[in-house]
Every structure is written in C-alpha cells, then in structure tokens.
Symmetry: C2
Subunit: 508 residues, 2 copies
C-alpha cells in the first residue's frame, strides 16, 4: 500500500484533507484576524500567475485597469435598494478615524467619529457607477470598459480558506454600453473568457450558464456563472458575469446623449473571479500527496533539488544543476519561458523532495553524485507519482534528454490534469432524473455528482418554494448550461411543461 504524504486522504475526510493540503503545501494559514487568511508565497505565486494570465485576456478584449476607493459612503448604497439588501448584512463599517489611549487601552476616539460611516467595499458597482456618471456624456464616450484588481470584504459568519473569507482578492470588471444588446454581448463574452481561462490555464473544465432568478447578483437582470466540479462531487461557482441593465445607471445617473440627441440610460455589466479559484484548483487537482498545480499557473514548473552532502563534491553538483537550470530557462512551454528553480535551501534532499511534491510543482528533478557522474538526473512527474508497484516513480534519464523533452513534458502534464478533470465532470452529471423523488434518491448516496433536470423556470414566490425544497436536501440550482439539450416533458418541481434544463448540486 502506498504511504501518502498527507496524513488524511480525500476518502477519509474531504474537508480535513482540504485544510491539510492548504497547510502542507504552504498555500495559506489563519492570520489571527477573524476570517482573514495569510496567503503564503506558494499560494500567492499561484494567484500572481492567475492574475497575469487572466489580465492578458481582460486586456486583449479591450478593457483597461483602474483603481477605485476601498471605502464607499453609506449614501451610495442607499441609492439602490436591492443591492444594499443583498450586502447590508455582511459589511465592515468604518466609523472612526482616530484612536486614543483610555485607561491604558487604545479605543476609537469619540471626537473622531465620522459624520457618514464608510463601508469597506464588498463590490464596487456603486462607487464605479458614480465615476461612470462623470465619464459618460455622449454616445462617443461609450463603451466604457474597465477592470480593477482589488481586495473586498464580506463579513462571513462561517469562513473557509480561499472559498469564503472575510477579505478576499479578486478582479471586478465594470462596463457601460449604449445598447442592451451590446451589454448582453459583453456579459457573455466575459463569461466565455472565464470559461476558456478556467479550462486552458487552470485545467479546470467548467459548465457555463445562466443562474436562475433566485441566485442572481443583487441588482442584476441576468447572472451567469461558471461551475466547476470538485472531487467530492460538489459544485464550486468559480466566476460570475452579470448583465445589470439600467439598475445601476438609474441609481447612479449614468446617462448619455445618443446620436439623435436624446438622453438615455447606459446599460452596464460587471463580472469577477477571485482567490476562490485557488480553492477550486485544490479540490479539482489535489491528491493524497498534496496539491498538483497545472504547469501554466505553477510559480515554478520545474524544481531542481541537488542532493548536497556538505562535502567537497557539493560545488560541482551545484554547477551541474545550474547548467541544467540555464538550459531549462532557454525553453518555452505553453507559450511562455519555462520557470525552473534551483532549491539550495538548507534542508535534507528528501524533505525538500516531499515538500515540492506536497506543493505540487509539476516536475521535481533530483540530482545526486551518482546522477552527475553518469550525466543523468532523476525525474519525478507530479501527475504520475507512483509506479504500478506503489513505489515512487523517479526516472533516471540523461540530463540532455530531460532538458530536450521538458517543455513537452510540461504540456503533457497540463493536458493530463485537464483530461482527468474533464472525465470526472463528464462522468458525474446525471441527466436521467425525471421526477423529484429520483432527484432525492440521486443525492442520497455518497459523492453524488450533479443532476441536470427539466424545469419550467418558475418565478418569484413559486421559485422560492422550489428553492426551499432543494434547500431541505442541501441542494441548490447551479445554472442553465449553455448548449444543454432542449427541455422536454414536465418540470420535475412544478409538473408544468419544462422550458429548459438546469443543474442541481450540492455546492461550496
């Protein structure tokens, strides 16, 4: 039996396994500040890769980055009732701007109470809408296509690292358009950017589609999401794109003169993904030895570990490894220069090996004196860690051969991780559930996956009733998949004629 690197396996306790990967891969840790985490270098390095690759796509589709204030005056929220209802329960509020000493303790200075409290942004539609109203006068000023990378705060009662934290990092795109058609096109364009990004860069296939009314962003006319399947069968909403219609343009007075000289309200959109994606990467690609990072988002794709012995041979061994690192740095894989690290930290080689396995570096190259003598290196591929006999699969290959094939190997690993996740997603969506009892039965077992059913798209109170029934089973609607088969027969919830097919799942 394989002795894995983690003390808890996915089978034993998925939630504990998740926490264990985060700790053992040095991704993040509790900060001592309620609900806020410290993102450690390996976790933050993955976020930097995500930022770089997604930012390229956001810019390639014509958007520019800006930066808007962290603080939003309460009065901005009061302008849009539905929006504030959706967020008021979970906002951090700044009420004072100075501290004083009192009885030996620091306390907010009563003399420095703000006249109007400030909210720490949970999202920026209101403050960006106010800017849009200044920027947009004429149809010539449209579209406005902007994005920001920022931290936001939502006061969550139950937090879980990366998935739901009080503070998190994200990007939020905000656009304004002259017509509804153009704004709807933008909403779907960015949904597709997210889908392609998740699939290509995170090796995480997703289902893109429209959320039902009860799952819409507060203030949105339509909300779309990408949903990824975790290894426990649950869904993770990994990105959303909203068509906001004129909700915010009427609240914030974003008006323009059209070509006929008439005043119109602009049509706006917003869309975002966050550090939550890293939680998705962990639960899609992690295994019982830790994380497996897809090469495109790995801060280091190849880690070279020299087996140093604190003796005279070390210098030659380090030179040998440096030469390999230099050869690798000349390569290009997946459209970018290869990122290879030489790990010279003072620790035992075996400790370092397992450290990098747990972190999920795609390729770990160990080099000992015997390897060097033979002109070789020992190569561990993170996507194929063990041989059939359960032993660690460390292959001795000629150094030149390894360097010559390293780029292709990284591309293979990226594809392999994607294909495994794709197969899992495809195998775990049931489409044969034709009534509510069957739905209940489908979710009675372990790791139930997702179920796609026919429904009649009830609205308002009728929809709430259906959502309540699902909630009793700890289920939610995920989305109406793009490209799903046409609905047929009766809605499994209402019995009325079905109009589309919708995904039901347990979710994070």
């Amino acid at each position: 039996m394989i002795k894995h690197a983690l003390s808890v396996t996915r089978e034993q306790d998925f939630a504990a396994w998740y926490q264990s990967v985060i700790a053992e891969a040095d991704l993040a840790e509790e900060s001592g500040v309620r609900g806020c985490m410290v993102i450690r270098p390996w976790g933050y390095g993955i976020w930097e890769r995500i930022q770089r690759l997604l930012d390229d796509r956001i810019k390639a589709t014509g958007h520019e980055n800006c930066y808007f204030p962290l603080f939003i005056p309460l009065s901005y929220f009061e302008k849009e009732a539905e929006h504030v209802d959706g967020f008021a329960k979970e906002m951090a509020v700044v009420t004072h701007h100075r501290l004083i000493q009192k009885d030996g303790r620091l306390v907010p200075d009563p003399e420095a109470k703000l006249e109007e409290p400030l909210v720490v942004r949970p999202t920026s539609e209101t403050v960006i809408g106010a800017a849009f109203s200044r920027w947009v006068q004429s149809w010539r000023d449209l579209p406005v296509l902007i994005n920001q990378w920022a931290n936001v705060v939502r006061w969550e009662m139950r937090t879980r690292m990366f998935l739901r934290t009080t503070e998190f990092l994200w990007q939020e795109g905000h656009t304004a358009h002259a017509s509804e058609a153009e704004a709807r096109e933008e909403t779907l364009k960015m949904l597709e950017v997210y889908r392609e990004f998740a699939e290509t860069c995170l090796a995480m296939p997703v289902v893109a589609g429209e959320k039902p009314e009860n799952e819409r962003f507060p203030g949105a006319v339509a909300t779309y999401s990408i949903e990824a399947m975790m290894q426990d069968g649950k869904a993770l909403q990994a990105g959303t794109s909203h068509f906001l219609g004129t909700t915010f343009s009427s609240a914030q007075d974003i008006k323009f003169q059209n070509a006929n000289g008439e005043l119109e309200l602009a049509q706006t959109t917003s869309w975002g993904v966050s550090t939550r994606m890293i939680g998705g990467v962990i639960m899609v690609h992690g295994d019982d030895d830790g994380l497996r990072v897809p090469p495109r988002i790995a801060p280091w794709q190849i880690v070279i570990v020299p087996m140093l012995r604190d003796n005279d041979e070390d210098a030659a061994l380090i030179d040998y490894c440096k030469a390999l690192q230099a050869d690798l740095a000349k390569l290009s894989a997946l459209g970018e220069p290869v990122r290879a690290l030489l790990d010279l930290k003072p620790a035992k080689a075996a400790t370092k090996r397992w450290g990098w396995v747990k972190k999920g570096a795609p390729i770990v190259v160990e080099v000992g004196g015997r390897d060097m003598a033979g002109g070789n290196v020992s190569v561990i591929r993170r996507d194929r860690l063990y041989r059939e006999d359960g032993k660690l699969d460390s292959a001795v290959v000629a150094k030149g051969d390894f360097a010559g094939g390293a780029a292709a190997m990284l591309e293979e690993i990226q594809a392999a991780l994607h294909d495994q996740a794709r197969a899992r997603l495809d195998a775990n969506i049931r489409r044969d559930v034709m009534d509510f009892a069957a739905l209940e039965a489908a979710f009675a077992g372990e790791k139930p996956g997702w179920v796609e059913v026919n429904w009649s798209k009830p609205a308002a109170a009728d929809l709430d009733k259906v959502a309540e029934r699902l909630k009793a089973l700890k289920l939610t609607f995920r989305n109406v998949p793009e490209g799903a088969a046409p609905a047929e027969g009766a809605c499994i919830f209402t019995g009325a004629p079905a109009v589309e097919r919708i995904l039901v799942a347990r979710a994070y």
Copy 2:
C-alpha cells in the same frame, strides 16, 4: 510665443499646474470619497509598469510575494508603543460588521458591534511580525524575505492626489534575519534597489541617505530614504528602507534557536514605495503641455493616430497604420517589446494628438492620406515638442525609417528625460552654506533648491530644537547623503564640531 496645451504653467502656479496635469492627462480624479482618488487607466497603467519593473527587482533579490490581512486588531498595535504613537492619530477604525435600516436610513447595527475594533492597515509590521513569529523557529528558517503589494490607509487631514491620499497603493517588504549585520545589509540593499529603479525606470535621479532620528519610521532603529527634486525645488521622499532592529521581534516574539541552541530575537527590516512615485514623475518630468512619461514606464510608448476622414480612404489608412503597428511590435527597446497603440477612437485627429501629448506618450505618430501616399509618417517626440520657431515639431519621415529607428528613439527619450532631471538636481544643491543666517537667506528666494550643510548630529531634545527652527522656515531635514563629502568645521545649528553633512529642503 508658444501656446501650450495646459491653461496654467509651472511658473504661474506650480500647485495648480500639478492638479491640471493630473486632470488633463487623465491620470486620476477625486472620487467623492473623502481623501480617496480614482486612478484612471493612464495613471493606473503607469502604476502597473512601475509594479512590473520593481517587482522583477524585488524578486531578483530573493524576495517572495505574500498577502496579509487588511484588518489589524487593535491589540496588535498596543504591543509596540512607539509604533502606535506614530500611527494612532490617522487610522480608519472598523467598529461594526452589519448595517440596518433605521428611519429610512442605513446605520451601523448596534447588535453587530465588534468586540475588538479592527484598524485598516496603515502599514503591516505588526500583523506580519505575528506571522514571522509562527514561521521562525530555527536559524534554518532565516532569512525570511517577503513583500506584499497592497492598499493602505492613513487618515490624512490635507490630501493631494498621488502625494498624500487617505488610501494609497504600495509595496511593503518585510524581512527577518539572524544577525544585525545581515539585516542592516538588507536595509541598504533595498535602498539601492529603489535608487537604481528610480534612476533607471522613472528617469528620476535621487539622493539616497539616512534620515535623522526625528524623521525615523515609528519603531525603526535607522531609516533611509531616496529623495527626488521636483521642478519647484522641493524634495519628495520617494521611498524608504528601515532597519528595525529587535523592536518588532520583541513586541511580536520573533525568536529563533541559533546554531548553538540559544534563543535569539530576529533582526527585522521593512521598506516601501507607493503611488506617491507617480506624483514625483509628474513633478520631475511634466511640462506646460502636460506629462512626459519616461518610455520604460509608459503604458503605450508609441501611439499611432490615423487622420480619418469618414470616407473611402479610411480603410487603406487603417491598414497602413496596422502594418506599422505590427512592425513596431516586433521591436525591442529598453529590454522589452515595444508597446505601440493604434488609436481608433471616434474623435478628431487633432484632439487625439493633443490628448496624447498631454498624457505624455513618448512618441506620437500621425498618419494622413498625404503621409500614406508618400510612404511616410509624421512623428512627434514628446521630449522635443517644439521647433526653435515655437511651432510643433512634427517630422515627416519614411515609414520604414521611423520603424527602423523607433527603438533607439525611445532609448534616447528615456536618457534625455533622465539627463534633464539629473542636471536640475546637480545644479540645485548648494553646499556653500556655513551658518544658519546663510541657510535662511538661501531659502528666502523663489525655487530655492536644496542645501547640504555640516551638522553635529544632535539627538533627542537638542535635535527637536533644531527641527523647530527649521520648521519655522518650512524646512525639514531630508537625509545624510550616501557618499557626501566629509563634514568639516562647525555645525550650522549647534556650533559644535560637525560630524556629517545633511540635506535641508522644503518638501512635499
């Protein structure tokens, strides 16, 4: 007489000119949130370039990026008295985590008052120190070399865009070391990184040196700065590096077992630069036509403006410009691919030309029908905007010749901006002031520049007295320049024997 693009010149009113550049170059604007600005795409694009180039240097010197919480519990600050004294007067305090409706208004919910108020980070020594105390156990864990890019908040009473805003963006490096010597070396290494970065990338020569005791960061044993000279002769502190000794390691309990098995306190450092640097770039390189952005940090280095006429020739003109853009994109200048934009926005060509002049794009290329017919382009260099006769210097050159020389032209512009700033700095530091009356006289005129004087380095109350005398003249100590001549004679403040030379200036 030249009719400049801005309505106010540097000579007329430097402060109004500064605001005018920010507005006319679309760098930033007031947000409606007290003391917070909106950084617009051109301003944020400059910040992204600064981030990219500085981040490369921070990583090349062995540091890794992380992310720490925005919120810091009050109790963390209480551990370090000097530090909290330095910041308590200007901190935003979160006291509630929910809003409710009351009399039709949103108010903080009294039921959701935090037991311990949270401070919005003004800087992160305390929360990062707490993490270091978890991370550091043995000498093998040292050094810890980390950095974060983040927003911070200091509740400033008088704000000025980029220079002093309630919220600003920065990077803060934090390191822990086993020995004082190594921590001091790190402090100076990062000071040098900042000096070289300012000089090379911002084309902004600076004076690096140690701050006197009264200008130290709260809690630091030694503070170093880089100081840049603005065109009005004032100094701008553009970056700081602090040796913190054991101030924070004793407050936060950052201890390690040394090689002999004994427990020691770690020695820490911190260092940062912020969006303030953009204010420096404006005041060093701006002129009466707006900003001039050094090519290394220009979001777009070359902007191509086709002179469209809404007729049949437009398509051919756009193709001609696209071909040029493609040729330019193949070039490398200043070590990176050239960044060339084709501006197809619906506006008059002259409006676009002056827009890009005001924004400070290094090269603006206009292409009209006549240019195209002759195989030419019309080139405007932002560093040489006018001919001797006062007319705009737009040079008609063969398209191929322009593309062939564009990389060299960008390098020339980078060097020219640097050399102008260097000459100004060198010409405006007086070193012949030998007594206080002469100092007073030196600062009596307009645009007085800086004065470097002999001083005896008084401490504590004696230093405060000197600082008070300077303050009455609106002067401050800047730093003791690295590589200054040896002190000689008497201190101009105390009459005691001088021990070093120090810079005195008006400052932002």
